[in-house]
């Protein structure tokens, strides 16, 4: 139950962040893929099955904000969530630099899968936002590794305080 609450909060935060970024500037949504971060974070914690299911949910939410066919982002995020959980079980990616590279590769892969399905289904070129979309793996990795570090720091702080008590 606690996990479902945490995941729901994560999803709500992602929707809020996505809408806020959109309100600030349309370009920021192309650079930072917030839903990817939610998927990767919980996949790292809960494993590949939870990652895949959450990937599907996040992808569908993202698709509901766009005009295109429902499920394109869902498939790419399902695979991303699965791989994130699978790799995180086997390799230690807690370190900031490793975390950055991990998110960078996953975001890049997600972008490629999404672009492949988009081109396949719509039979047209993807809109790169004058090249901004290519910054997405870098932007997402930077934001993700900083956010995850911050979350871990807050966790440790909370744990040390409860130990002191």
């Amino acid at each position: 139950m606690r996990d479902i609450t945490r995941i729901s909060i994560g999803l709500i935060l992602a929707v809020i962040m996505y809408t806020l970024l959109e309100s600030i500037s349309f370009s920021t949504v192309l650079i930072f893929n917030i839903f990817n971060l939610v998927v990767i974070y919980f996949a790292m914690e809960k494993g590949e099955t939870s990652g895949a299911i959450l990937g599907m949910v996040c992808g569908m939410i993202q698709d509901s904000f766009s005009a295109g066919v429902f499920g394109v982002a869902g498939i790419s995020k399902t695979i991303t969530g699965f791989l994130a959980g699978f790799v995180a079980k086997r390799i230690d990616i807690v370190l900031f630099s490793r975390n950055f590279i991990f998110i960078f590769f996953l975001s890049g892969m997600e972008l490629i899968i999404w672009a492949f399905f988009y081109v396949f289904i719509f039979s047209e070129r993807i809109n790169t936002g004058q090249g901004l979309i290519f910054l997405q793996p870098m932007g997402t990795a930077l934001l993700g590794s900083i956010s995850f570090k911050l979350i871990r720091y807050l966790h440790e702080l909370k744990n040390s305080k409860s130990h002191e008590k």
Binding site: S23, A67, G71, F86, I126
Partner: protein
């Protein structure tokens, strides 16, 4: 059973991917029509988005009103001067029109004018189609209908209503969409051509013959009103390049006047104002 236990994560992944592929294949024949499932999700997240945008705008206004006031007196002076000029212009235009129609007709026309447009805010872009469509915070409850004309705050053409999505949301097809097509002419009066988007933030003026030398860089492009969607004389954009290739037609690129960064406030014309424009 043993296979399922051993490969459970992979099997779940396959089921999820397959179910989404089925979902996609159901939707593709629907075209522009949203599926029932998508409508439900839009219904759920639409109020959330409206709320967040409302709070964000509220904070922005609060900041502008109480903290960011150092330029307000200068801005006020500038606006007062602008209003003065606009009043003079308004008076001049009214007097000019009076020569052709009586004053009561003018007053009636002007009064109607204010009820004929609706101010809308942008609450979403389409991440899949960055230069194709945007979503505005007005829907069927506000009287929005398909093909209504959308302008930016400066009166430049932005696009048309593709369809209302819900009571309070509608999708706008931008003039930079490569699926749009409408009649235009250049400021010199000729030639009439078809303008379409290039899907990358600019437009293309199509079917301009190689032999036609009237099209030049720097000319303004206006709607011709021949398509029964856009009224005549709306400002669209400016020609930025004219290329000749091994084809019957020239490649004429047009930069739209509207700016993506200015799309926070839009105007929807609630009726086809052909006579006014």
């Amino acid at each position: 059973m043993f296979f399922w236990k051993k490969n459970k994560p992979c099997a779940i992944l396959l089921i999820l991917i397959l179910s989404q592929l089925i979902l996609i294949s159901i939707q593709v024949p629907l075209g522009d029509e949203s599926s029932f499932f998508k409508k439900i999700l839009i219904g759920i997240f639409s109020p959330v988005k409206h709320g967040i945008v409302f709070i964000y705008n509220g904070i922005g206004k609060f900041w502008d009103n109480y903290f960011f006031v150092k330029d307000s007196s200068r801005e006020n002076a500038r606006l007062e001067t602008e209003v003065l000029y606009l009043r003079q212009e308004n008076l001049f235009l009214k007097n000019t029109i009076r020569k052709y129609i009586d004053e009561k007709a003018i007053i009636d026309k002007v009064r109607d004018f204010y009820t004929d447009f609706l101010v809308a805010g942008v609450i979403g872009i389409d991440l899949n189609n960055y230069y194709k469509t945007i979503i505005i915070d007005r829907g069927t409850l506000d009287g929005i209908k398909k093909n209504m004309v959308v302008l930016d705050r400066n009166g430049y053409l932005v696009g048309r209503i593709l369809k209302p999505l819900s009571f309070k949301e509608s999708r706008v097809q931008l003039i930079t969409d490569n699926d749009i097509g409408f009649g235009v002419y250049t400021e010199t009066g000729t030639p009439f051509g078809i303008l379409t988007g290039d899907g990358e933030g600019r437009c293309l003026l199509k079917y301009i013959l190689k032999t036609n030398n009237n099209v030049q860089i720097g000319q303004d492009v206006l709607t011709s009103g021949q398509d029964d969607v856009f009224p005549r004389n709306l400002q669209v954009g400016r020609i930025i390049s004219v290329e000749e290739i091994e084809s019957l037609f020239k490649i004429v690129r047009v930069r739209p006047f509207f700016q993506f960064k200015d799309l926070d406030r839009l105007v929807v014309l609630l009726r086809n104002m052909k006579e006014e424009y």
